[in-house]
């Protein structure tokens, strides 16, 4: 693994492989002990589109986009939200006062308020697993093989190869957030 300051963790999601089984959500909730009723990742539904009989339905799994230019970080009044050297957007729970300004600023609704702890929380891309060389729980468990992760700076990583050979988009590109979750459809 490359040193932390040269890594750029990202994800590529092949939406046509997603079957809406929500195993990624279950895996995440167990791995990260997410409070009941809250979610760090999700499966969105686009459609049905078209007219009968040529109908389409697309699933769009997602989680925190770990934006290069994170609006949540910009508005945080205490510096609790920070960007690690490898690009992951994380929260220092000691500094978070639970003002929820970041939740207003995130266009992806990727954050939730943990009432029990009084802090805001979200996907860490399983930083604790990445740091020991394991894949994020949602990626590891994905039944259809829709979720891929890796170092965007490493041209030989799985994500880099996928993105090099497939057309891809990001969500709300016009927001200028430069998300690091890429969608291949």
């Amino acid at each position: 693994m490359a040193p932390e300051n040269t890594r750029r963790w990202g994800m590529a999601i092949e939406t046509k492989r997603c079957i809406d089984c929500k195993a990624c959500m279950v895996a995440c909730e167990i791995e990260n002990q997410v409070p009941l009723g809250k979610h760090r990742n999700w499966v969105g539904h686009v459609g049905p589109t078209g007219t009968f009989p040529t109908l389409g339905l697309r699933f769009e799994p997602g989680n925190c986009m770990h934006c290069e230019n994170p609006p949540c970080l910009r508005v945080c009044p205490t510096g609790a939200t920070y960007q690690r050297e490898d690009g992951l957007v994380l929260i220092d729970y000691d500094k978070c006062i639970g003002c929820r300004y970041c939740m207003q600023a995130c266009p992806y609704d990727a954050r939730y308020f943990d009432e029990t702890r009084g802090v805001v929380d979200k996907c860490t891309m399983c930083a604790h697993r990445l740091d020991v060389g394991q894949p994020p729980a949602c990626v590891e468990t994905c039944v259809g093989g829709a979720r891929h992760y890796g170092d965007l700076n490493d041209p030989n990583s799985e994500v880099s190869k996928l993105l090099a050979t497939n057309e891809h988009t990001v969500i709300y590109e016009e927001a200028g957030t430069e998300p690091k979750i890429f969608y291949i459809s």
Partner: protein, 329 residues
């Protein structure tokens, strides 16, 4: 309406901070016009200013997930975070407005304005030297001058807090800061107008001048508000899909009645009509302002109701607005 993250406590805070900012601004304005006619406006504005914002900040701290961790706000200055800048601004404003209020204490309470002139007098308050009237006047003038931009800053900040969030299209327009500023100034002026009307004493010298100052200032501020709301609606309507869709929340959507009845009718049109009626003889040069306690109380209360509903509509509707398209989860 789904349960928004920022609820009624935040609405109250934005409203109360606005009242304080407006009360301070009208007080320092009156201080600078000077003369005996406007002393009561200056004093009442000054005596009111610190309290609503302090209650508001208290509510804001209670709204935090970890109220006792609020001090983290003051460990750092985050230049890009309106809330961080606002926290420092509020602290400065509260301290300054408390000192300013003390300087406007009426007799005999102004007897409390003393400074220790000798180190040995320090533990004995009675031995402190009372401030001379000249020192008090100078201090008031200095604090009014320093506090005026600070109070405008508080008024603008309450709008920037919401307006600086691109992912909420309903909020994300530069008009919001000005709208909240004018609304704050108007709310503060209306509070002073209400209190002076309740205190009455038509016999006191300068009552007519005082009514003219307060009613005409408030009238101008309400008109400025109207000319912030018009571009607000137009710019949204003529902007991107997300932006144009967001104002449907007040143009047929779930906040339509709140906005058009609460903000426009009760908060703007009725006070405009009342204050216009009060000032009309002056405009025609046919005599003094029309005054009755009922009219003044009505316009003051209506402006405050409108200011509160304005913040309610913006805080709640903004949190429903979203970049489009939204993918259902």
């Amino acid at each position: 309406m789904e349960n928004p993250e920022w609820g009624i406590l935040v609405v109250n805070y934005l409203f109360l901070a606005g009242v304080s900012a407006g009360a301070f601004a009208i007080s320092s304005f009156a201080t600078y016009i000077g003369g005996p006619h406007f002393r009561r406006v200056a004093r009442i504005g000054a005596l009111i200013a610190p309290w609503p914002v302090m209650v508001g900040v208290g509510l804001l701290v209670l709204d935090l997930g970890r109220p006792l961790a609020f001090w983290h706000l003051f460990m750092v200055v985050q230049y890009a975070s309106p809330m961080s800048i606002g926290s420092w601004l509020l602290t400065g404003f509260v301290v300054l407005s408390l000192v300013y209020a003390a300087l406007w204490l009426p007799a005999p309470l102004n007897n409390l304005l003393r400074v220790p002139t000798h180190p040995r007098a320090l533990p004995h308050f009675t031995r402190w030297t009372p401030l001379t009237p000249q020192t008090i006047r100078r201090a008031r003038a200095i604090l009014a001058a320093l506090g005026f931009p600070l109070s405008l800053g508080i008024g603008v900040y309450t709008g920037i807090l919401l307006g600086a969030v691109p992912s909420r299209p309903f909020w994300n327009t530069p008009m919001l800061a000005q709208l909240f500023l004018f609304s704050a100034m108007s709310s503060g002026t209306a509070t002073v107008l209400l209190i002076t009307a309740l205190l009455g004493t038509r016999h006191e010298t300068g009552f007519e001048e005082e009514r003219r100052l307060l009613v005409s200032t408030d009238l101008v501020l309400i008109i400025l508000e109207v000319f912030m709301l018009i571009p607000f609606l137009l710019h949204h309507a003529l902007s991107t899909w997300s932006s144009a869709s967001s104002i449907e929340l007040i143009l047929g959507g779930e906040f339509t009645l709140w906005f058009w009845i609460g903000v426009i009718l009760l908060g703007i049109l009725l006070p405009l009509a009342i204050e216009g009626y009060e000032l009309f003889p002056v405009v025609l040069r046919e005599g003094a302002t029309r005054y009755s306690l009922a009219l003044s109380a009505a316009s003051g209360v209506l402006v405050l109701v409108g200011g509160f509903v304005l913040r309610f509509v913006f805080v709640y509707a903004g949190q429903v607005s979203h970049f489009l398209p939204v993918v259902a989860r």
